[in-house]
C-alpha cells in the first residue's frame, strides 16, 4: 500500500508512531560542543528545566581546542531519548550528538576506592584488586586506595566485592566513550 512512486493511497491503520518512545536501556550520549563560556551551564540548565535526569557527565578537551566533548549517560526508561537529543540540538553551541550503540563503543571510567583493611583483610582485598586488574595507589596501616579502570559494570562489580571489607569512600569519574573502528565518534 502507498508504495513510493505510485498513486496508491495509504491505509491509515498501517501508520505507526515514530519517536517519543522509551527504550528502557542506558544511553551514552557523546556531545561535541563549542568551547565557549557557559556551554556546560546551558546543558545542565536544559536538563534541569526539562526534568531530564543525568546519571553521569564528563567534560574534557578534544584534539581541537575550539571544541570540547561532553559524555553523558542517562536512563532511556525514564526519558524519550530522541526528545533529549532534539532539545540538546537546539542549543546553538552544540555541534554534534551521538547516541552511541553499546556494541560499537568502547567506554571506560576511572574509580578510586578507599577501603578499610584491618589485619589480614589486606591480602584478600589485594587479591580481588588483582583479579580486577586494579592498582593499589596508597597504603596505610588501616586502609588501601585502589584505582580501577573499566566499564561501569566492572567498577560496580568491584564495589560489590570490596564493600563488605568496609568501603570508606569511592570516587568515580563517570564514563567516557569512543566509537569502535576507524570512523570518528
Amino acid at each position: 500500500m502507498g508504495e513510493p512512486g505510485t498513486k496508491e493511497l495509504l491505509s491509515l491503520e498501517e501508520l505507526e508512531a515514530a519517536g517519543g518512545l522509551r527504550t528502557g536501556r542506558k544511553h551514552l550520549l557523546s556531545i561535541l560542543v563549542e568551547n565557549k563560556p557557559g556551554v556546560l551551564t546551558r546543558i545542565a540548565g536544559l536538563f534541569a528545566r526539562r526534568g531530564f535526569n543525568i546519571d553521569t557527565l564528563t567534560v574534557g578537551p578534544t584534539d581541537d581546542d575550539r571544541v570540547s566533548r561532553i559524555t553523558l549517560t542517562l536512563d532511556g526508561a525514564l526519558h524519550p531519548i530522541d526528545q533529549v537529543t532534539k532539545q540538546l540540538h537546539k542549543l546553538v553551541n552544540v555541534i554534534k550528538i551521538r547516541d552511541l550503540e553499546p556494541d560499537d563503543t568502547v567506554s571506560r571510567e576511572l574509580a578510586l576506592f578507599k577501603v578499610s583493611v584491618d589485619g589480614n583483610q589486606r591480602g584478600e582485598v589485594m587479591q580481588i584488586c588483582e583479579i580486577f586488574r586494579g592498582k593499589v595507589v596508597d597504603v596505610t596501616k588501616r586502609s588501601l586506595i585502589v584505582e580501577i579502570t573499566g566499564t561501569t559494570d566492572k567498577v560496580e562489580a568491584f564495589e560489590r566485592m570490596v564493600r563488605p571489607f568496609g568501603l570508606i569512600e569511592m570516587m568515580r569519574t563517570g564514563e567516557i566513550a569512543i566509537s569502535r573502528g576507524r570512523g570518528e565518534t
Partner: protein
C-alpha cells in the same frame, strides 16, 4: 571607531529601522552612539513596554524587533518580554548593558547576571568578553533570531568593552557550526502525508503560529482548498486561514468552538502545521484525539513527538512544505465525496453549537458584543492586539481574522500588559494601518505608562478597554471551580480612565450604551492620535464554551 558605533553600523546593516529602549549607566556609551546614528529610537517608559513593543513590531511586520535596556534592573525588566518572545517564537534581539568587566562578579552597582537569569528563556545569548566580538555577535544574534524557529536572542555588553576602540569590518557570514535549521522537508515524508490525507475520511488541518511565522498563510489556504479539508487554528494561528469561510471551523482549544474541538476528537487524521499540541489545545493528553493518526509539520524537530507521537513527521519550513504538499496532493486520485459524511457530522455540530451568548435586553454592552461592534466598526480592517484574560478569548472568538499578522496576542506565556505596548510596536511598524488594542482593565494597568510614549511619539493606537471591573478570567474560574469565592479579583471603579488618558496626553472616551456603540467606536477610530476608550461591559459574564483544565474536549461546557 568605538565598539558602540560599530553596533550602530551592524543595526543598519541588518536593516533595523527602529529600536525601543531606555538608557542607564551601563549602556550610556550605546546611547551616545544613538545620538547621531540615524536610527529611530523610541524612548519607552518601562523596559517591559519596550520589549513587548519590539514583539508587536516583529509580529506585525515579520521583521526582527529590537529592544535595549541597561544592566541590572533594566535587564531584569525585559525578562518577561524575552520569555514571552520565546514562548511565541517572536524574532527579537535584546541588547543589554552590563557593568564594567572589572566589576563582574563583585555584586557591583546595578550588576545582575543577565546571561544567567535569561538562559532558560532565550533562543541564544552572547556574553561579550572582547570588544572585537561585538559586531559578529550582533550579526549572529539577528541571524539566529530570524531563522529556524524564531525567538529572542540577547547580547550582553559590558560598559567598558562597548566604548573600546575597534577596527570595524562588516561581517558578512555567520560562524555557527551548531546551528543549521532544516527548512526543506523530506520529499518522501511529504508524499506519504499527501497519501494519508487522500485516504482520510475524517481529516482536520490544525494550524498554529508557525504558519504565520513562515509567511505560509497563502500556502495553507491553497492546501486546505485543494480538497474540502476542515481547518482550525490555535490562538496563535488566527489569520493563517481566511475566516469566516465554509471550511473554517473556528479556533480550537480551551475556548475554541465545539465544531473544532469535536472534530479533533473524532478525526482519523490530524495534520498539525506549525502548532505544538499545547495543553490548552489537547486538554487531557491521554484522551486527546483518540482515533487520530498525526502528520506533524514543524521547523523545530523537538516539537515533533514531544507531546503527541507523530506518525508522519516532517521537519522544515511550513511555507515550503505546504507548497510541496499541495503539489503532491493534486497529483493523487482522491475522491472528495469521501468527506461528505464528515461534513454532515461537522455541520451538525456547527448548527447545534454555534458561538453564542445571551444579549442584554437593555443598553448594557455585553463583552462579546463589544468585540462584534469593533469588528463592524473597523470592517475587520485592523491590526488587533490584546491583553490576557476573558477579553482576549472573546476577541479570538468574535473578531474574524482574514489575514495573517492581524492578530497579535500573548498565547504561550499569557502575559497581562502585553497588548498596549505591542500595539505601539505594531503601529510603529505599520504606520499606515489601523492598530487597535483590545485591553483588559486589569491587564492594561500593567503597561499603561507607554501611553505617554505613544502621545510623545504621536503613535495613534486605539485602545479599547473591556472594563468589567474584574480580573475577569480569574473571577470566572473562582465562580466555576472555587465555589464563587471571589478572592482578590474585584478592582472596583479605579482608575478613572478619562482622567488618566488626559493626563497622558491621549484622548479619553467612555462608552456605556450598546445602541450607539458601533458609531461611537467609529468616532473613536476617526479621532487623531492615541485614544483610550473605557468600554463598560457586563461585569460577570463567562467565556464559553470551555474545556475545563485537564479534561478531554468531549467534556466542553457552556
Amino acid at each position: 571607531m568605538r565598539a558602540v558605533d560599530a553596533v550602530m553600523e551592524c543595526l543598519k546593516a541588518e536593516g533595523v529601522e527602529v529600536v525601543f529602549g531606555l538608557p542607564g549607566g551601563a549602556n550610556l556609551p550605546t546611547y551616545d552612539a544613538f545620538y547621531d546614528a540615524g536610527i529611530r529610537h523610541i524612548l519607552v517608559r518601562h523596559e517591559a513596554g519596550g520589549g513587548h513593543a519590539a514583539e508587536g513590531y516583529a509580529k506585525a511586520t515579520g521583521k526582527a524587533g529590537v529592544a535595549l535596556a541597561t544592566s541590572g534592573p533594566g535587564a531584569t525588566n525585559v525578562i518577561t518580554p524575552i520569555t514571552d518572545a520565546m514562548m511565541d517564537s517572536v524574532p527579537t534581539v535584546f541588547i543589554t548593558g552590563q557593568v564594567r568587566t572589572e566589576l563582574l562578579g563583585t555584586d557591583g552597582f546595578q550588576e545582575a547576571d543577565t546571561i544567567g537569569i535569561s538562559m532558560p528563556v532565550v533562543k541564544h545569548s552572547f556574553l561579550i568578553q572582547h570588544p572585537l566580538e561585538i559586531p559578529r555577535a550582533i550579526h549572529e544574534a539577528f541571524h539566529i533570531a530570524r531563522t529556524g524557529r524564531p525567538g529572542p536572542v540577547l547580547v550582553d555588553i559590558p560598559q567598558d568593552l562597548s566604548r573600546a576602540d575597534i577596527q570595524y569590518e562588516p561581517v558578512n557570514d555567520v560562524r555557527l557550526p551548531g546551528y543549521q535549521p532544516t527548512t526543506e522537508g523530506n520529499t518522501k515524508q511529504i508524499r506519504q502525508a499527501a497519501k494519508a490525507l487522500a485516504a482520510a475520511r475524517r481529516p482536520v488541518i490544525y494550524a498554529g503560529g508557525g504558519v504565520i511565522n513562515a509567511n505560509g498563510a497563502p500556502e495553507l489556504t491553497e492546501f486546505c482548498l485543494a480538497d474540502r479539508f476542515p481547518v482550525t487554528c490555535t490562538v496563535m494561528g488566527l489569520g493563517a486561514f481566511p475566516a469566516p469561510h465554509e471550511q473554517w471551523l473556528g479556533m480550537l482549544g480551551m475556548h475554541g468552538t465545539r465544531a473544532a474541538n469535536y472534530a479533533m476528537d473524532e478525526a482519523d487524521l490530524i495534520c498539525a502545521v506549525g502548532a505544538r499540541f499545547d495543553d490548552r489545545i489537547t486538554g487531557k493528553l491521554s484522551e486527546f484525539a483518540p482515533r487520530a493518526k498525526f502528520i506533524h509539520i514543524d521547523i523545530d524537530p523537538a516539537e515533533i513527538s514531544k507531546n503527541v507521537p507523530a506518525h508522519i513527521p516532517i521537519v522544515g519550513d511550513a511555507k515550503n512544505i505546504l507548497a510541496k504538499l499541495v503539489a503532491e496532493y493534486r497529483a493523487l486520485e482522491f475522491d472528495s465525496s469521501r468527506l461528505d459524511e464528515w461534513w454532515t457530522r461537522i455541520g451538525g455540530w456547527r448548527k447545534k453549537y454555534p458561538l453564542r451568548y445571551e444579549d442584554s435586553t437593555d443598553n448594557e454592552i455585553k463583552p462579546q458584543y463589544m468585540i462584534q461592534a469593533l469588528y463592524e466598526a473597523t470592517g475587520g480592517e485592523a491590526i488587533v492586539t490584546s491583553d490576557v484574560g476573558q477579553h482576549q478569548m472573546w476577541a479570538a472568538q468574535y473578531f474574524h481574522f482574514s489575514k495573517p499578522r492581524r492578530w497579535i496576542n500573548s498565547g504561550g506565556l499569557g502575559t497581562m500588559g502585553f497588548g498596549l505596548p505591542a500595539a505601539m510596536g505594531a503601529q510603529v511598524g505599520c504606520p499606515d494601518q489601523l492598530v487597535c488594542c483590545i485591553a483588559g482593565d486589569g491587564s492594561v494597568q500593567m503597561n499603561m505608562q507607554e501611553l505617554a510614549t505613544c502621545a510623545q511619539e504621536k503613535i495613534p493606537i486605539k485602545v479599547f478597554i473591556m472594563n468589567n471591573g474584574y480580573l475577569g478570567m480569574v473571577r470566572q474560574w473562582q465562580e466555576l471551580f472555587w465555589d464563587k469565592r471571589y478572592s482578590q479579583v474585584d478592582m472596583g471603579d479605579f482608575p478613572d480612565y478619562l482622567k488618566l488618558a488626559e493626563a497622558y496626553g491621549a484622548t479619553g472616551l467612555r462608552f456605556t450604551d450598546k445602541r450607539t456603540l458601533v458609531s461611537d467606536m467609529k468616532d473613536a477610530l476617526a479621532t487623531e492620535g492615541p485614544v483610550l476608550v473605557d468600554v463598560r461591559v457586563t461585569r460577570e459574564e463567562n467565556t464559553y464554551p470551555m474545556i475545563p483544565a485537564g479534561q478531554p474536549a468531549r467534556e466542553m461546557v457552556g
